[in-house]
């Protein structure tokens, strides 16, 4: 896949509010520029994760459901 993830989280079937609340906390724990690999099998994830990235400012590097790679944004 090219990019090495700095952290991996298998969220299983978790979705919707629970998923993004936990995701937010986990991304906050990374340093800017680090890449987070999320495994999310929830059927809403393909639509939700890109929307979440647009709102939060993190970069969706790749999306191949159920695997999502997200680069943590810079601190502002």
């Amino acid at each position: 896949m090219g990019i090495e993830a700095d952290e991996i989280w298998d969220a299983g079937d978790m979705g919707c509010g629970e998923l993004v609340l936990e995701l937010r906390a986990r991304l906050t724990g990374l340093r800017p520029g680090q890449v987070f690999e999320l495994i999310a099998r929830d059927p809403g994830a393909p639509a939700d994760i890109p929307a979440w990235c647009r709102m939060t400012g993190h970069t969706l590097v790749s999306q191949e459901h159920p695997v999502y790679r997200i680069r943590r944004k810079e601190n502002r």
Partner: protein, 121 residues
Amino acid sequence: MMANRFCVSLTHAKDNSDKATVAFVVANAALGSGKETLVFLSVEGVRLAQPGYAEDIREEGFAPLRELMESFAKAGGTIYVCSPCFKKRKLDENRLVAGASIVGGAKLVEFLSDGSPCVSY
């Protein structure tokens, strides 16, 4: 420009535990998306502000409501509890769940007046 606030209005408790649960899931989605998030409890929904009340509410396919509410409060979510609804039901204002405060309508109006969207359950 996207609003930085998000409100979820909830008027149910055990009379519709499905709605009560989904309301907090959506509130957690807003909070997780970086929004300053308010859950406004009114009508029957005010019962959820009493510690222990949500203990036995668990909808299939969802986390228990108590857990959803705890995650919400822990992540900095705010809960406003409708004062007249609360008083009408003779609930205990000295015992409130984390993140909750009893307010009148002006507080809700103030929160929404800045251009906050609101979804109702």
